[in-house]
Symmetry: C2
Subunit: 172 residues, 2 copies
DNA sequence: GTCAATATTTGGAATTGTTCTAAATGTCTA
DNA sequence: TAGACATTTAGAACAATTCCAAATATTGAC
């Protein structure tokens, strides 16, 4: 299994990715990224703000949001959403699943296990799974067809709900 | 495969479940439940409101939220969340997974396929999966241990984050 | 190093989806 | 039909997030 980004590589990785997308390396971006690498417990923007603030007292919440967004679009960090709670941020960019604790609300990474077509997941010791749910992303038949025809398509525009509304729902 | 609740059974089912939990059957609750049974495309509260309003012009948004919550706690309807978008409501109470279309934003139910331990999912024709993610729910080692000891535990209190914060994250 | 051009940060206002509140209305039981 | 209690309602409050426009920082050219 590949190693995640170490704090040592982080600076290089960060400036590299920022440069690649024509962005500047700032102290705030470095700080926010560091927070995410230092303790990989999926903090919310609020939590990132508080941790960053302790090392950089003048950083603002708006900046934390900006930096997080930048890191996400640079592919250095990903967002993790669960129920409608605040978005959390994760510096583990390898493909993985998540375990959400009903007790403490914690989020834990679950390794996707054996590669290839076969999926063989193993929970780390001590975890008690009550249920699971698979979340697929892709294109529904209508949108897949539209894209094949080469029509210009806007991805993920929430206001564009035509497809959803006139299709027969897939439960029988 | 079992059939979902038909509109005909719905009234009975609704009053039955409401009575079981000491609640009253009201026109608004019936209306909201009907909206959800009539078109199973995972509408948001806003969409439910608009559809309900066309048959019952005086219904209010607050009532729609109240009714939806009641239906959820009665086990007649479930909430479906995706990214941080508005919660959607689903009257398919059988265990199933979800497919989210990146094109139109639609949500579709995916049958969990073969019963038993083995999981063999099949996408309905035309769907193009780009990626998937598994979401586990349960208890993390610390919370599982606490519960075994019979300590009184509050389930899912978001403010209680101790467990999350002092545990080493599970990525290596 | 200095300057201009441009990107970023910042505080506060605005927005969105949702919950709360308290008064009005409805339903049920006696 | 009254009294007890549940439900509905409009609007205020709320939390997480985004937007805005001014202040500040960074970069590249000289």
């Amino acid at each position: 299994m590949k190693k995640p980004v170490s704090i040592d590589d982080a600076g290089e990785r960060l400036s590299e990715q920022l440069a690649r997308t024509g962005r500047r390396l700032t102290a705030q971006r470095r700080q926010v990224y560091n927070v995410l690498l230092l303790k990989r417990d999926h903090p919310s923007a609020e939590e990132v703000f508080m941790r960053a603030k302790s090392a950089m007292p003048d950083i603002s919440m708006a900046t934390v949001y900006n930096c997080l967004e930048t890191l996400v679009t640079c592919g250095l960090v990903r967002q993790v959403n669960h129920d409608r709670k605040a978005t959390r941020y994760c510096s583990n960019m390898q493909h993985h699943h998540h375990f959400y604790c009903d007790g403490c609300g914690g989020a834990f990474d679950i390794d996707p296990g054996g590669a290839g077509g076969q999926l063989r997941l193993e929970m780390p010791p001590g975890f008690r799974v009550r249920n699971f749910e698979i979340l697929f992303r892709g294109y529904c038949p209508e949108c897949a067809a539209k894209r094949k025809q080469g029509a210009p398509v806007t991805i993920h525009d929430a206001s564009q709900t035509s497809c959803r509304s006139h299709r027969r729902p897939l439960i029988s």
